[in-house]
């Protein structure tokens, strides 16, 4: 029976059929009620559902907290915190995605970008610096507390090693891409009045690169991890830019120190990975366990005198490869094992002068 046939049926037959359905059980009734349920959908506020998020071209906006969002699809993940005066971004995506990032931001606020923080130097996280900063505003300007300054550009914060690499050497970029506010100590603090939250930019030495930072939004209880933590593969230990597997593990343990889970070790502090899905304490712990176990295996093989080729042939990552491994692309399992091996192999001292 369906609704269309029902409307064509004589009233008596209709009533009889429906009544029989009721009297025989729920089967018949569900034909109508199922339609009703699908037509009405959920009542707002009754049950949890992760909103699908606004979409701007290929950049997706997904809510993390009331005023914190993650933008997916612009290269590396971008965290956006909306505050009274503007928007703070952690990372800026690729240069090519800048206009899509700005369009995506317009779906959540009409306020300007007032702060950008780079978690590291790679262009999938810092490539949008210039284009997005130029469309932003600086709060404060020439005089502290002067409000929105005349300069039409958002400041870009990063560890000084990001600046060093962007301003010279193989990663050199145009000056417009460079950080405008650098720090060299362990932690840089941004105040709530100007940046919308009490924010700690915490340097993680020699991890994914030598300029990594994780950003802790203390009020929002969100941590942006940069590429110290990703859910899409093995950690990219960029040895050419000062990365080290021991630093990655230290960074993962730092994330576990910062995060406080809710009941049963999930939820609570939300962690935005450099790539992949939104995470929490337990997700980072699983990942930390995996990297630590692989590190220990490689170390044990090195201790037995095995060469890099022998270590790679022994497949120390085998049990995790179907989840995190790759045989092609920019970061393969072999490259990860090599980076781990070289991180754990003492660098030979420089050759002596002969005396």
């Amino acid at each position: 029976m369906n609704v269309d046939r029902r409307t064509e049926a004589p009233a008596v037959l209709l009533a009889a059929a429906l009544a029989m359905a009721v009297l025989l059980g729920a089967d018949g009734a569900s034909v109508l009620s199922a339609r009703s349920a699908s037509a009405t959908g959920a009542e707002p506020g009754v049950a949890l559902q992760a909103a699908p998020g606004a979409v701007a071209a290929s950049v997706h906006v997904f809510p993390v907290r009331e005023n914190v969002y993650v933008l997916i699809g612009a290269g590396g993940n971008i965290t956006a915190e909306v505050h009274a005066a503007g928007v703070l971004l952690v990372d800026s995506g690729t240069a090519a995605a800048s206009s899509q990032v700005l369009t995506a931001l317009r779906t959540i606020t009409d306020k300007p970008v007032t702060t950008i923080i780079n978690t590291h130097v790679h262009p999938d996280h810092s490539g949008g610096n210039e284009a997005i900063a130029k469309r932003g505003r600086t709060i404060g300007g020439a005089g502290a507390g002067a409000g929105i300054a005349a300069e039409q550009r958002a400041p870009v914060f990063a560890h000084e090693n990001v600046m060093v690499r962007m301003s010279s050497g193989p990663d050199a970029t145009e000056p417009g891409m460079w950080p405008t506010e650098t720090f060299f100590n362990d932690v840089k603090v941004l105040t709530k009045v100007f940046y919308g939250d009490s924010i700690q930019i915490i340097h993680v030495p020699a991890a994914h690169t030598d300029g990594d930072s994780v950003v802790f939004f203390r009020q929002a209880d969100v941590v942006s991890a940069g590429d110290v933590y990703v859910t899409t593969g093995y950690p990219h230990v960029d040895r050419a830019r000062g990365g080290d597997i021991q630093g990655v593990i230290a960074g993962l343990n730092l994330l576990l120190d910062l995060a406080i889970p809710n009941l049963r070790s999930e939820g609570g502090t939300m962690i935005v990975p450099g790539h992949g899905r939104l995470s929490d304490y337990a997700d980072v712990a699983y990942y930390r366990d995996m990297v630590t176990i692989i590190r220990d295996r490689i170390q044990a093989m090195i201790d037995r005198g095995m060469t890099l080729e022998q270590v790679q042939a022994a497949k120390p990552t085998f049990d995790y490869d179907r989840r995190y491994g790759s045989t092609a692309g920019p970061w393969t399992t072999e490259m990860f094992v090599e980076a781990g091996y070289r991180s754990l192999t003492p660098t030979p001292p420089p050759a002596s002068s002969g005396r």
Partner: protein, 304 residues
């Protein structure tokens, strides 16, 4: 017969339509508190499985290696102490379950069936019946996952995605966060049958199917599970207990304890089918009078 007869019949049927209690999209009411029936696998579900027992699990080599590297001391880490079981495991676990329904206050439509066990996830499972889509791939994963349901006849069919990593067996056999879960829930009188089918492209070669039964027990109340992590064993910061490859093989000990070929203890899809018992019988027969352990196909067991 008077002319009012058909009208009376009609009114009777219409009145029957007004009987309250048949809610939208509901064929069978599964509401209630149910106790687990431990007529199957009690030692595994209660005290816990033996280390090295992977029998009857359709696992691949990757899962096996990960299990061989598992150290029970992992559970003493603060990050692990308070974790809940995954949605797929808890159904087979040792806990009673409470099921209730969430009804939209205005439309009275069924929004979700909710289910909670002790030591389940951060909150109760919600099985949405209102047609909402599953979240995008970048949404968080939880141990309860994200579930939607529909009726097939009198059977509640549940599809769950967005699961956190968990385990197929509590001795190190992993289930990945890429797994999805299909469930079929049937109520026959006071007995509730709950079928779970795990599809895991990372660690399983075939779907892992379990059927678990509960009985209605209205005097039950799934207890709370408060938990605060503590330092159980002082360790260097970040240390993760595990067994290095090649240093131990608990499947050998398990096989020896129960007189099984080692390959049976190591699991795999073939070990979950009834035909496998015949292979073990042949193995046992070949072993009688032969001190050297042999593999299940009769050959010398090179792993001993």
């Amino acid at each position: 017969m008077s002319g009012s007869g058909p009208l009376i019949v009609l009114l009777s049927f219409v009145a029957a339509l007004l009987i309250p209690g048949v809610t939208s999209a509901q064929r069978v009411d599964v509401t209630g508190e149910y106790a687990q029936l431990f007529h199957e696998d009690q030692p595994e579900r209660g005290p816990g499985p033996e280390v090295g027992d992977y029998l009857g699990l359709p696992i691949n080599e990757h899962a096996r290696q990960r299990a061989l590297a598992w150290d029970a001391s992992l559970l003493t880490l603060p990050e692990w102490q308070c974790r809940s079981h995954g949605a797929d495991y808890i159904v087979r676990g040792p806990q009673s379950v409470r099921i209730w329904k969430e009804i939209a206050p205005v439309t009275r439509d069924l929004i979700s069936w909710n289910a909670e066990w002790s030591r389940a996830s951060e909150t109760y499972r919600e099985i949405f019946m209102d047609g909402r889509p599953h979240p995008p791939e970048w949404a968080p994963h939880t141990w309860r996952g994200f579930s939607t349901g529909r009726w097939e006849g009198n059977m509640l069919v549940i599809t769950t995605t967005h699961l956190k990593e968990s385990y197929v067996r509590r001795n190190g056999i992993p289930r990945s966060d890429w797994a999805t879960l299909a469930e079929y829930v049937m109520r026959r009188g006071d007995v509730l049958t709950w079928v779970t089918i795990i599809n895991d492209p990372v660690y399983l070669t075939e779907p892992m199917i379990r059927t678990t039964e509960y009985r209605l027990a209205t005097n039950l109340n799934p207890p709370p599970f408060p938990c605060d992590a503590v330092i159980e064993i002082p360790r260097p910061k970040g240390a993760v207990p595990h067994v290095l490859p090649g240093t131990a093989d608990p499947t050998v000990d398990f096989a020896a304890k129960y007189g099984l070929p080692v390959e049976a203890a190591r699991g795999g899809a073939e070990t979950m089918y009834p035909e496998y018992r015949e292979r073990i019988r042949r193995w046992s027969a070949s072993r009688s009078g032969d001190a050297a352990p042999r593999s299940a196909d009769g050959g010398a067991d090179e792993r001993r």
